[in-house]
């Protein structure tokens, strides 16, 4: 896995200021992604893998399940903050579904920096926007790594 490890870099408190933007992350939504992530998250509801069943329930296609949204929020935060970070809180509201063929663009911003004992915490606003609006928007608290690199 070393070929993918090298892109990870810990963000430390002294690197950050309120208002800093997190790098954007673009996620093309495919049927394979929707189905494979639903299975990986143990969500077997038919609207996440059976297009006919989804249409019968009034949606135009299968769509991403919530646990997967949660997973991508988690990934977005640690891709940015690095493997030395620890996620403390994630709060989000759900909006426009992620259907195959769409693209979700995740963006975020540091809104507050605080300390809990020896740990530095970054408070982050994030959203994942697709072609129909915000799929997900919320806030998170990430405990930052203490060493860079």
């Amino acid at each position: 896995m070393s070929d993918v490890n090298h892109k990870f870099k810990n963000v430390i408190a002294s690197d950050l200021s309120v208002g800093d933007a997190l790098p954007e992350f673009e996620l093309p939504i495919t049927a394979k992604l929707v189905v494979s992530t639903a299975m990986a998250s143990q969500d077997f509801q038919d609207v996440h893998h059976d297009k006919d069943a989804a249409i019968a329930k009034g949606t135009p296609d299968i769509f991403m399940n919530i646990l997967t949204t949660n997973g991508f929020v988690g990934r977005y935060l640690t891709d940015w903050a690095g493997p030395g970070s620890r996620i403390k809180k994630i709060q989000f509201n759900l909006g426009a579904p992620n259907y195959p063929g769409d693209t979700m663009i995740m963006s975020g911003e540091v809104t507050e920096l605080s300390q809990d004992g020896e740990h530095h915490l970054a408070h982050v606003n994030f959203k994942g926007k697709n072609g129909m609006g915000n799929h997900v928007s919320g806030t998170a608290i990430v405990q930052l790594a203490t060493v860079a690199g």
């Binding site: 896995m1 993918v4 490890n5 892109k7 990870f8 208002g19 992604l33 494979s36 992530t37 299975m39 990986a40 998250s41 143990q42 969500d43 077997f44 249409i55 009034g58 949606t59 135009p60 296609d61 919530i66 646990l67 997967t68 949660n70 997973g71 991508f72 929020v73 988690g74 990934r75 640690t78 891709d79 493997p83 030395g84 620890r86 996620i87 403390k88 809180k89 994630i90 709060q91 989000f92 509201n93 759900l94 426009a96 579904p97 259907y99 063929g101 769409d102 926007k129 072609g131 129909m132 609006g133 915000n134 919320g138």
Partner: protein, 330 residues
């Protein structure tokens, strides 16, 4: 449905609240295979989870045990593919409140928000179970998708030592599915929401075509020479119907502005700064201001236009803060 019947429903279901139901057990302990399957599907290459070497050298976790991404919290004690809870789970119905609402005609359900706190990351071999409690039911609310009640569930995720490793407040909207009018069409393919196209009628077409041709055009009266924007067929100064256009340099100053925060209307990015620009030529034009932080926008600030193709077949004169003037050396 009247408010009093909503009150009746609430009175009936409120006693069902605050009943802690569980445990819901897991089928399997936390395993490297399932973590791998999750990370692989999500494209999550964080070395903390599956790279033993990394963990040994750079983390508080043990070399030998894969670490589960925290967002996996809920899946360990989910039902299997056949809809069965893990062995030894309670047979109590957590969702009797939801069932009661369904009986009253509130059949739709949609998760609207998650609020999660992670106390510790699970490791390979840990064994999860959870308890659930309905902690709030709202008054009857009307939203874009119908009338219904917001129901909030507290899920407590515990490990083999009955210690809380994560908790979540999950809010659902339990709603009356609006009756479809007869002849309602089938759901259409999901499409990207685009900016609303302007009307390009006889009076306005030249303006939008000009933008597509790379020019911001201002109407000019052929008889009295007055400039005007937005376009209109008759000169308000001399009533002439004869007009042509001049090309604006696209430079001006902000006369007033707003920063739109809510509602977030797709496909726009928020906050969305809108400016009314006094163009040097002497007319005003509305546009978006790109690239300036909301707090830095000021009345009177110099701005300049950049023609931007925002989507297929739509070019707009978007404005940016004007850079410092660079004097050309002779």
């Amino acid at each position: 449905m009247s408010d009093s019947s909503a009150a009746d429903i609430l009175e009936r279901i409120k006693p069902l609240m605050h009943k802690r139901v569980g445990p819901y057990n897991s089928w399997n302990p936390v395993s490297r295979t399932q973590i791998w399957q999750w990370c692989s599907a999500m494209g999550d290459h964080n070395p903390l989870y599956l790279d033993d070497q990394y963990r040994a050298e750079h983390s508080e976790f043990s070399r030998d045990k894969a670490v589960a991404p925290p967002a996996m919290m809920q899946m360990w004690s989910m039902r299997d593919v056949n809809g069965n809870d893990g062995p030894g789970s309670t047979t109590d119905n957590l969702f009797e409140i939801l069932a009661a609402l369904e009986e009253e005609g509130y059949e739709g359900i949609m998760a609207v928000s998650y609020d999660q706190t992670f106390h510790r990351y699970l490791e390979e071999g840990d064994r999860a179970h959870h308890y659930s409690t309905i902690i709030n039911v709202s008054d009857l609310k009307t939203t874009g998708i119908g009338k219904g009640f917001f129901v909030t569930q507290l899920a407590e995720f515990m490990d083999q030592n009955d210690e809380l490793f994560a908790e979540a407040r999950i809010t659902y909207f339990k709603y009356q599915v609006p009756k479809k009018p007869a002849g309602a069409s089938k759901p259409s393919a999901p499409g990207k929401i685009n900016r609303i196209h302007p009307v390009e009628n006889h009076d306005h077409e030249h303006f939008w075509q000009g933008l597509r041709d790379g020019k911001l055009l201002i109407q000019k009266c052929d008889d009295c020479g007055e400039l005007r924007h937005p376009p209109q067929p008759m000169c308000e100064h001399c009533q002439s119907l004869n007009w042509s256009t001049i090309e604006s340099k696209g430079k001006g100053t902000v006369y007033t502005y707003t920063v739109m925060h809510y509602p977030e209307i797709p496909p726009f990015d928020y906050p969305n700064a809108i400016v009314l620009v006094d163009l040097e030529e002497g007319v005003r034009i509305v546009s978006q201001l790109i690239g300036t932080k909301p707090d830095d926008i000021k009345i009177g600030m110099p701005v300049e236009m950049k023609l931007t193709e925002v989507q297929e077949d739509m070019t707009l004169p978007l404005f940016h803060a004007a850079g410092p003037k660079i004097e050309e050396k002779p």
